[in-house]
């Protein structure tokens, strides 16, 4: 907190001193003014909802797909050997490189952006969830078996609750790349969104709006991170 305030103060001082061209470094008030103006015109909220919506949709899809596949890979040697090499490979293909292909397939609408976020996070999510399954102590599974548990019950009653904290953490960590990807996608092609606004601002040399965009993106990222931490504390009090 003190660190942030210090940076703000330094920013204000440097901007006020006139040492740096206003074009390169807008003042904090300037950014604030740009923000209130965008807010008043309704663009800020519209951009924000557009970006958050894309991240939400793409990441929700990714989370929903990676959970069962990750657990299946962690529980079954066969499934793991089948999927891991493929995923390990695709994981290293930078997701933004898929943008041209997605645009060719799906045009300029919402689908390519949502799918980009999906592609960019689903492999990491899956592999990290798979790894967490490998840390379930065998004693916990075997105890369930000697208590009369059957195959699938071990997954739902032992594996799933045990990995819940790691799953939440996986989502929290990979959410950051989802957020990166939506900005990248919007820089390339979009009608609205925080990334779009930044690229427009660049065209008109409005550095204050670029700064505004960056700050808003950072704040939302922080808010998402904090909500995942809160979720963790609420949902898995035993794991702290």
């Amino acid at each position: 907190m003190i660190g942030i305030l210090a940076v703000l103060l330094a920013w204000q001082l440097v901007a006020a001193s006139g040492l740096v061209d206003k074009l390169f470094l807008p003042s904090p008030e300037g950014v604030w003014r740009a923000g209130s103006e965008q807010y008043a015109r309704g663009i800020l909220i519209k951009d924000l909802l557009a970006s958050v919506g894309r991240v939400g949709a793409g990441f929700a899809l990714s989370a929903a797909v990676s959970l069962p596949i990750g657990i299946a890979m962690g529980c079954s040697r066969v499934i793991c050997q089948l999927l891991e090499p493929l995923m390990g490979l695709i994981r290293y293909m930078p997701a933004p490189a898929f943008i041209p292909l997605l645009i060719i397939y799906f045009g300029l609408g919402e689908e390519p952006k949502v799918l980009l976020i999906f592609i960019g996070t689903v492999f990491f999510n899956t592999l990290m969830i798979m790894d967490s399954v490998k840390f379930v102590p065998s004693e916990l599974r075997e105890t369930a078996l000697t208590l009369g548990g059957q195959g699938f019950q071990i997954v739902t009653k032992v594996v799933a609750p045990f990995i819940a904290p790691q799953v939440i953490d996986t989502y929290r960590i990979n959410m950051a790349s989802a957020w990166n990807l939506v900005i990248v996608a919007e820089l390339v092609a979009a009608n609205e969104g925080l990334g779009k606004r930044i690229s427009l601002a660049q065209r008109f040399l409005k550095t204050d709006e670029i700064f505004l965009g960056l700050i808003v993106i950072g704040l939302i990222g922080l808010a998402i991170d904090l909500s995942f931490r809160l979720l963790m504390r609420r949902a898995c009090p035993w794991a702290n």
């Binding site: 102590p137 004693e139 916990l140 075997e142 105890t143 369930a144 078996l145 000697t146 208590l147 009369g148 548990g149 059957q150 019950q153 009653k157 032992v158 609750p161 045990f162 819940a164 898995c236 009090p237 035993w238 794991a239």
Partner: protein, 255 residues
């Protein structure tokens, strides 16, 4: 109930990596008996228990419960491990209820039996606590209550007190003995502590390593009315000393 292990051998792996772990294990267990398996580390005690539990299958020989061959794990053979014995996300009471819920017992029965078995292990007041809020000894008592609540024919205990401090271990030994007297459970206990085995079990099998096999069986006819007295009595100490020596010799000649 009759548990019979006859002519059981176990080899892990195959070819050049094959590891012959157990050789011709024979043991019998009847309803209400308390039998112990003692041996040094690596003598194959846990493997015997895992075979009885059905978590591994024998390479040769047969294991039967009431004449039925063991084909896999089941709730007729409850097990308590030394480590990671409780589900950390469940309270003590939920842990006790866990097995009964897996079995699909009616909710009312689950609640009643949970309360009963928590009381049996003296933890009625701790039902709502999470495992990490319980001491090691309390955790093992919950694990025993959970195993018993699932209504097994035989309770398999793999060094259940191995991770506990000496003093707590003695308290837990007395607790387990009283539990046995009170509920008439049937138990197979694994330990590397000769004193623990002699104190609790009517029959003690001693195992030698590489490959694991039973080399001696002791029927301890001891007066168990007062365990803390028994611990210090001359015949007990003599027997304990003799067996401890026996194990030491086994280890040095085998190692």
């Amino acid at each position: 109930m009759h548990l019979s292990v006859s002519g059981v051998s176990k080899t892990f792996g195959s070819g050049s990596k094959a590891k012959h772990v157990l050789e011709d294990i024979n043991l019998e267990l009847d309803s209400g008996e308390f039998v112990a398996l003692v041996g040094s580390s690596g003598s194959g005690k846990s493997t015997v228990m895992r075979l009885v539990a059905g978590l591994e299958l024998p390479s040769s020989g047969t294991i039967t419960v009431d004449g039925q061959p063991v084909k896999g794990p089941g709730s007729d053979r409850g097990m308590v491990f030394q480590k990671y014995s409780l589900y950390p996300w469940l309270s003590a009471a939920e842990n006790v209820a866990f097995g009964m819920q897996l079995q699909g017992r009616p909710k009312r029965e689950v609640n009643e039996r949970t309360a009963y078995f928590l009381e049996v292990v003296g933890l009625s007041d701790a039902g709502r606590r999470l495992p990490r809020e319980l001491s090691g000894g309390m955790q093992q008592r919950v694990a025993i209550a959970r195993a018993l609540a699932a209504d097994p024919k035989v309770l398999l205990l793999d060094e259940p007190f191995g991770a506990l401090d000496l003093q707590i271990r003695e308290t837990m030994q007395e607790f387990l003995y009283q539990l046995w007297e009170r509920t008439g459970l049937t138990a197979l206990l694994i330990t590397h502590d000769v004193e623990e085995a002699l104190l609790l079990a009517q029959r003690v099998h001693i195992m030698a390593p590489r490959p694991g096999r039973i080399v001696r069986t002791v029927e301890g006819k001891l007066d168990r009315r007062d365990l803390s007295f028994l611990r210090l009595s001359a015949p007990f100490l003599e027997l304990r000393e003799e067996l401890a020596n026996y194990l030491r010799v086994l280890d040095s000649t085998m190692g």
